[in-house]
Amino acid sequence: MSTVAETQIKLTPEHDARPGATVRSWLQDLLPKIVLAPSFAATIVFVYGFILWTIYLSFTNSKTFPSYDITGARAYQRLWRWTFESDPPSSWYTSITNMGIFGFLYILICLALGLFLAILLDQKIRGEGVLRPIYLYPMALSFIVTGVAWKWFLDPGLGLEQTLHQWGWTSFHFDWIKNKDFVIYTVVIAGVWQASGFVMAMFLAGLRGIDGEIMKAAQIDGASTFQLYRRIVIPLLRPVFLSAFIVLAHLAIKSYDLVVALTSGGPGGSAWLPSNFMYEFTFKRNEMAVGSASAVIMLMTITAIIVPYLYSELREKSR
């Protein structure tokens, strides 16, 4: 960046110093903007442009191909009706209740487990350098790999149950992945296994950033270890909670591939998440309007959760 600016200066005749200086400052002002412009334009078009396009499509009667005549909110009316069809559950009802269960448990367990592991690893133990990557590496796998591996492990005829039967524990029974009421919890297990190590790494970095003097002061004041963590460490980790929450929340919302690889949709579609619903309706059932409407609702939901949270967290920080 600076070399470009310098060559520009050399090209300018010396006696004409003042315009040169303006060109230079003008360039210095503008260069970051020029460099950022392509990615900015790409984001505007491919993210925000397509968000608007999706919203537009959700009000049309697009089927296989996009159609541009606005026909009203029939797609939303159908989704709204499906929202309350719980017995037998409509696909949309299944998707959103699963999202609730999965999102809540996934984020909560990942945060709790990640924090717990990080605190244990932070006790200046031997072999931390070996242990840390072991927990972290699942994050390097794609969801497809995680899904397939856990599918085999949880399959009663192949994995855990079969192995324990062979070892002699024949009464052992674990068929959640084949059970319509429990299949979503297997998605939670696989998801937590993959992401908790990453959350641990985030918390570990946070713990290392805490000033040792504060801890010592608290210990001198006679705080127990539990009090130390409860009253001092965890409140100090608040920014890490924010980052981890945002990372986990968006991972939860886009968990499409995990469901497909692990359960192929579950018995009778009982493992669907809204992202599966969206893909199914847009690309397999040629109901692009309904697919778009469900995508818009997903976006609205995450906005409704994330924006107030971000707002409150960031406002308090600036205070």
């Binding site: 089927k63 296989t64 037998p88 696909s91 084949k178 192929s264 018995p267 009982s270 059932r285």
Partner: protein
């Protein structure tokens, strides 16, 4: 994310094509026949075209059901880069034809006599507004039983002629400690089996009314309820691990003798062949009990796009080669299906193939050739998938009674129309 991917695919393919735009002695073919047997079958066509001097440009998009391929095709068509032809199923052809992007093969069809040789039921999908837009490659039929002969002999079973016979046979297998029915608990497999159950329970007239015409009276009739009850009877004979299993693993259970029978389309025969099994001695193929004389079909088609003039000659050569008797025979012997024209000699086919060809001919003449709703040949994808939802929810217990199933079916189909 997905959108970006789509645009990316579109751009990538458009580069790939523009580089070859001048080359007219070439066909570009989008398909998802990437697995061993299927690829080998397609190779026959490649060689036929090579003999006539046409190069073959493969655009394979893997993924058994063709979802990925259809997504890629959508992007290509949206970008205005039509392939010469694409593998397509049922209503997809008509959707693209309605969008006005398909070519016109009517002259070739007349010259080659396709009108007479291709079954009328198939022409519903390959002809749009009187114009030929696709060349059917094969006819699969869905109402088959695939039985392990060794197990059948062991339990002393005979060919079941009625649904009750079938249940009795399954009971025998159960008593002998074999898994009676190999089923993969994925919605399309369950619905594919249910297609046969409906035909068996209600007969050809009823099947047509309910599953192709979507007549509401038939859909909520007692016959339909009885069909669901019969499905419930069959589901009692599957093993507890069936849910989510792939179809070919279910076929493998029959091949290995772990299970007695699978209800599946004739693509299952490919698995038996791959395991070096012979019909008659190692395995048996019967029509689903009570459906003899009728055929529930689905068919692979090569949709022909509206390509520029300089590429039309290659397209016509491709279409002609696809429906030539020699290719139809050679291809379908490998693929396990039967030819899409009824005047192909059956000399090269095995016993099951010969029966399939004879059945297709008979069904075509007798008007008992019906599209499979589960396979997307009975109604558009929105309806077909709504149907699969209901059947699958019934099998897995979200829908508890046949009464409820029928109500849900009418509602779901109505919603999706």
């Amino acid at each position: 994310m997905l959108r970006k991917l789509l645009i990316g695919t579109a751009l990538a393919t458009s580069f790939a094509f523009s580089a070859h735009a001048a080359d007219v002695k070439e066909v570009q073919m989008l398909h998802w026949w990437t697995s061993g047997g299927e690829a080998a079958a397609l190779n026959v066509l490649k060689q036929d075209l090579a003999k006539e001097g046409y190069a073959w440009k493969d655009v394979p998009v893997a993924g058994g059901g063709g979802d990925a391929a259809m997504t890629a095709l959508k992007a290509m068509v949206a970008a205005g880069n039509y392939p010469t032809a694409s593998q397509m199923l049922g209503y997809t052809v008509l959707d693209y034809a309605a969008a006005g992007v398909m070519g016109d093969l009517t002259e070739t069809a007349k010259k080659e006599g396709w009108d007479k040789s291709v079954p009328a039921a198939l022409q519903k999908f390959s002809v749009y507004n009187g114009k030929w837009v696709a060349a059917p490659v094969n006819v699969h039929s869905v109402n088959w039983l695939w039985i392990n002969k060794a197990v059948m002999d062991k339990i002393g079973g005979t060919e079941p002629k009625t649904f009750d016979d079938f249940v009795a046979l399954l009971d025998k297998a159960k008593a002998a400690g074999v898994i009676p029915l190999a089923l993969g608990g994925q919605n399309w497999q369950e619905a594919t089996m249910f297609d046969s159950v409906v035909l068996s329970t209600g007969g050809p007239e009823f099947y047509k009314k309910a599953m192709n015409d979507l007549d509401e009276e038939s859909l909520k009739s007692d016959t339909m309820k009885k069909s669901f009850d019969n499905l419930a009877k069959l589901v009692k004979y599957v093993d507890p691990n069936f849910s989510g299993r792939d179809w070919n693993l279910a076929t493998a259970m029959v091949i290995k003798g772990d299970a007695l029978v699978q209800v599946m389309g004739d693509w299952a025969k490919g698995e038996f062949h791959a395991a070096n099994k012979t019909p008659g001695t190692d395995f048996l193929c019967y029509r689903f009990p009570g459906t003899d004389g009728s055929v529930i079909y689905n068919s692979d088609m090569f949709g022909m796009f509206n390509v520029p003039e300089d590429r039309k000659a290659a397209q016509i050569a491709l279409a002609t080669a696809t429906l030539s008797k020699s290719f139809q025979s050679a291809f379908n012997v490998v693929k396990g299906s039967v030819p899409a024209r009824t005047d192909v000699p059956d000399t090269d086919f095995d016993a099951c193939g010969k029966k399939g060809i004879a059945d297709l001919k008979k069904a075509n003449e007798g008007g008992t050739l019906f599209g499979s709703l589960a396979q997307g040949y009975g109604a558009p994808p929105a309806v077909a998938n709504a149907y699969k939802d209901v059947v699958s929810k019934f099998v897995h217990g979200q829908i508890k009674t046949s009464d409820e199933a029928v109500t849900e079916l009418v509602k779901a189909i109505d919603d999706a129309k």
